[in-house]
Amino acid sequence: MAVPSFLARERIVARPGFNRWLIPPAALAVHLCIGQAYATSVYKTALVEHFDSSLTSIGIIFSIAIVMLGLSAAVFGTWVDKNGPRAAMFTSAVFWVSGFLVGSLGIYTEQLWLLYFGYGVLGGIGLGIGYISPVSTLIKWFPDRPGLATGMAIMGFGGGALIASPLSRQLMNFYDPGYDGTAGTVPSGNSVALLFLTLAVVYLVFMMFGAFIIRVPAADWRPDGFDPASVKSKSLVTTENVSANNAIKTPQFWLLWTVLFCNVTAGIGILEQAAPMIQDFFRENGGSAVAAATAAGFVGLLSLFNMGGRFVWSSTSDYIGRKPIYMVYLGVGIVLYVILATLGSTATWIFVITAAIIISFYGGGFATVPAYLRDLFGTYQVGAIHGRLLTAWAAAGVAGPLIVNGVLDSRGTPGELVAGDYRPALFIMVGLLAVGFIANLLIKPVAEKWWEPKTTDAPTAAAAPERSTVR
């Protein structure tokens, strides 16, 4: 599928002297916008009242979006790699913004199916394409620090929710003065519809800015002082390339899929349940020692560690290697989950610190995986391979809540649960992390038979790029 010439990869090849530090903000401009997906809880109650529906019916909107994220990243990954980041960011913006516009119409006309289709399906496609769009470009611009580069972008996905939550509250308060953001007040449905319209405009501007400043490096470009041979000297790191179609035939891909699935499922187990979990852990005689406002503070703290972990751990992986850092995420994660299950209810500080580090590993796992893929499969179609790997996220998004909610449903009623009721779910997570730890240990370099012929990048030198104004 061809793209208009102004979006074509050939139009955005950077000339010598281009400053690569313009690329991370371009990537962040997209990820900060699509990260809004994690802030849907802000207007969830408003939608339940507006549609006279249930939490489950409204929660499905987010589930559809995450499933579409995984599917679209897998399906369009090759297209993204072929047509380049500008076409991908542009397309992502169109889908993401259309999702808000159609969703807004659905809220205004009280047609829930339009909200499912708009935010869930259209928005979800925008999420998937947008999530993978800058990743391979960043890896190519920062061959010396791929973990730092992908950490910066994927940190933005965590940061998007930090921005969207307070911004949404303030905007809904502006459109519905009866809502002041405190417990007990619920914004009107029309204020949510207007919020969607406003976000659509803001996100369109930001994402288009990212799309139009993004550039790809020329094939023979290298950072000053960077020697590709130094990369090859590290274990598990290849200078060869593997296509996306071949990558999914390798055991390395599926082992890494398992690693990501286990790490994400374990993290979601806490994230999904964070606010009630801290209250339940410190429940005595029917009441909790932790107030609702404190529980909300705990959720905020987890968001900070989720975002910070993406940058800090992924950057650290550039120094200690991708396989060792996942041994930390999964191995130390096992110890932390055991501490949480056995000692978590003895003191608030133990619970908070343990959960915060676990969530930082959850974020770190997301941010480090593109660099791990690059180490194993090269840069040739790393975006497409990353897209296919994200099906693990979609699967974990279903499995994590199912495990936790399934266990809790069998143990009692929400509002009456105590720490002991969480233990079976936490020990299931320990088992999952152990599976992921073993899968990571089994990852070896990709066999030579899957390597692309050396001529893969030959067209690179032949193509004559057109000029653009900002390089």
Binding site: E10, L32, G159, L162, A219, G297, G300, L301
Partner: protein
């Protein structure tokens, strides 16, 4: 996959520092706003 061309025979360019600063500010200011609000919310955890 069409791949980027070589830098040979191309005129060097210079990326304006102002553009880089503007781009970072455009993403940095909203991020700082989000961080401030989240830290404020998280502070309830330590406020007793």
């Amino acid at each position: 996959m069409s791949t980027p061309a070589s830098t040979q025979n191309q005129q060097p360019t210079h990326t304006p520092v102002g553009l880089i600063a503007f781009a970072w500010a455009l993403v940095g200011v909203p991020l700082a706003y989000g961080l401030y609000n989240t830290v404020k919310a998280a502070s309830a955890l330590f406020g007793g």
